[in-house]
């Protein structure tokens, strides 16, 4: 078996800053989907400790590892290899399947709200997550800081997502320059 070099979807892209807001790719490490089997809530809670399985539309964090809600009885474990969950949950490796982007800065929410039909103003608080369309792309969006979001899209959509967010940031910067 040859040694293959793992590359993220946008490894050739340098972080881009417009209107003080930076679009960058993040390398989240391993990503695994954890889909609970019916009636295994308690067993899962025990097996995941110290992580906590997130409530819908939220994520939990422990020592840089995140568990992000992605659907009914389903969450993505990001940043660590999953524990053994035989008979408790279906675990599938998603690491190569998603591109992860971060948008950080004063107009991060404003830029994303041009593409995502959600209210991402501060009512969408740190710790909240959502499954929502980014343009026509299915995505996972969560707020990691007052001015910072992480956006996950299918890897095949990485460049489109980057382009769309960059255009949104550019137009906000252009508008700010006019005033």
């Amino acid at each position: 078996m040859p040694e293959l070099i793992a590359k993220t979807a946008l490894s050739d892209k340098k972080p881009a800053t417009f209107a003080g807001t930076t679009l960058a790719e993040a390398d989240p490490g391993p990503v695994a989907s954890i889909a609970l089997f019916p009636g295994q809530e308690k067993a899962l809670a025990k097996a995941l400790k110290p992580m906590v399985f997130p409530a819908p539309n939220s994520f939990t964090e422990n020592g840089g590892v995140r568990l992000v809600w992605t659907g009914r009885d389903q969450a993505f474990l990001i940043g660590a290899e999953p524990p053994a969950l035989d008979g408790i949950a279906a675990v599938t490796d998603q690491s190569g399947g998603w591109a992860t982007l971060t948008v950080t800065g004063p107009v991060a929410a404003e830029a994303l709200m041009r593409l995502v039909p959600l209210d991402l103003r501060p009512t969408f608080a740190v710790g909240q997550a959502a499954r929502a369309p980014l343009g026509h792309m299915q995505s996972v969006i969560f707020r990691t800081a007052a001015d910072g979001f992480t956006v996950m899209v299918f890897r095949s959509m990485a460049r489109t997502a980057w382009h769309e967010i960059e255009v949104a940031l550019r137009s906000l910067a252009a508008r700010a320059a006019l005033i």
Binding site: P38, P56, N57, T70, G71, R72, P117, A130, R131, A132, P133, H136, M137, Q138
Partner: protein, 92 residues
Amino acid sequence: MRLTCPLCGPRDRREFYYYGSEDYLQRPGPDAGPEAWDDHLHLRDNIAGEVRDLWYHETGCSQWLIVTRNTVTHEILSTELVADRKKKGVRA
């Protein structure tokens, strides 16, 4: 038009895919005979008033919903997860 996904909250109609009447959940048994299957696949009521339909939250949480709405007033009366219905033991 907005639909309230029981998991995601109120969302725009464009996030959803419309499938058809809730009747599609009432699948006849394998021995039910051609008339029952014909009814199941093709015969629908065309109701002016309350209807129960299946919608798919395609660009959200990927859940099937049963949406009760009124075709006269366009009022959305309720949304529920098909999965929850199964949990409650309703034949689906």
